[in-house]
Symmetry: C2
Subunit: 176 residues, 2 copies
């Protein structure tokens, strides 16, 4: 398995503040992109129970299919993540549907990606959810990630995925 | 859906003879490649009953994931086929396994692909199965394909897929 375990911290944070702190710290802006993430249900497995996810990410010039395994407990997120690049988004969508996978939600965001001493920092403006920072590293310790998140202005750690937040919002809207 | 319905004739035929007939008819050799096809079972659907297939084709410089729908009856094969190109074979294999798809067989062959007036003709040397020709077109009529197959030296039409032939051989070997 070439899969790597992702260690990640996510928090609500005002992006303008985080952006200027990153600049002060000497972070390098890697890229800015509009991402549309399509999430699927499994034909015979309840991902909300198994805590897995299947996502097709559509970004300009890049299409990626990602499997995410169950999260481990703790303030720092750790889960198996395997990503394969795909050439044609429409075709892979059709194949997934024909195999019984169903689209459950789309998450749209504008993401700025920075690199700071081996840590990837994403500033996310998520449609309908607000502003978040996400720190990810395969080298740094959980403690280091949490410290950096605080320095960038983290207001509240978030254990939920954007997908879960979107589904929850949809649920509350439906029960109004 | 951008998917196209494939119309196809497959037959056992000596390749040396077919090759020289193709040359006489003015066919163009498109490419020759070694292909390894990995077939999967579905996590909760019995493909041998639904007559579907999921295949990952590994060829030099090209990786393709293909869904095949149920075949329609008749000497000329017709089935829905959707193919998506993938960048990284190992990663997509891992994702499929994590989603519960299991590898059931590999079919290895040397394929020469010719083009003759809108018909794609493949000369296949299939490991463990022998020599076959496959004619495929999205324009020609079933009758035209069958006529061409005869001219190329078709000995016996084959309705089974290579996967089915491989599984059948394995079954007979197991029952010896």
């Amino acid at each position: 398995m070439v899969a790597l375990r992702e260690v990640e911290v996510k928090a609500r944070a005002p992006l303008e503040h985080a952006r200027s702190r990153l600049r002060e710290l000497g972070a390098r802006l890697v890229r800015v992109e509009e991402q549309e993430d399509v999430y699927f249900s499994h034909p015979c497995r309840d991902f909300s129970h198994t805590d897995e996810a299947l996502r097709l990410r559509l970004a300009p010039g890049r299409v990626e299919l990602t499997y995410k395994g169950p999260r481990r407990a703790g303030p720092v997120k750790s889960r198996l993540e395997v990503t394969a690049r795909v050439v044609d988004a429409q075709r892979i969508l059709e194949i997934l549907e024909l195999l019984g996978f169903k689209e459950v939600a789309r998450v749209r965001k504008r993401r700025e990606i920075y690199e700071l001493r081996g840590v990837e920092v994403a500033l996310d403006q998520v449609e309908g959810l607000g502003e978040f920072i996400e720190l990810e590293s395969r080298g740094a310790s959980p403690h280091e990630l949490l410290e950096l998140a605080k320095r960038l202005g983290a207001e509240e750690l978030v254990a939920e995925t954007y997908l879960e937040m979107i589904l929850k919002r949809r649920g509350s809207a439906a029960s109004l």
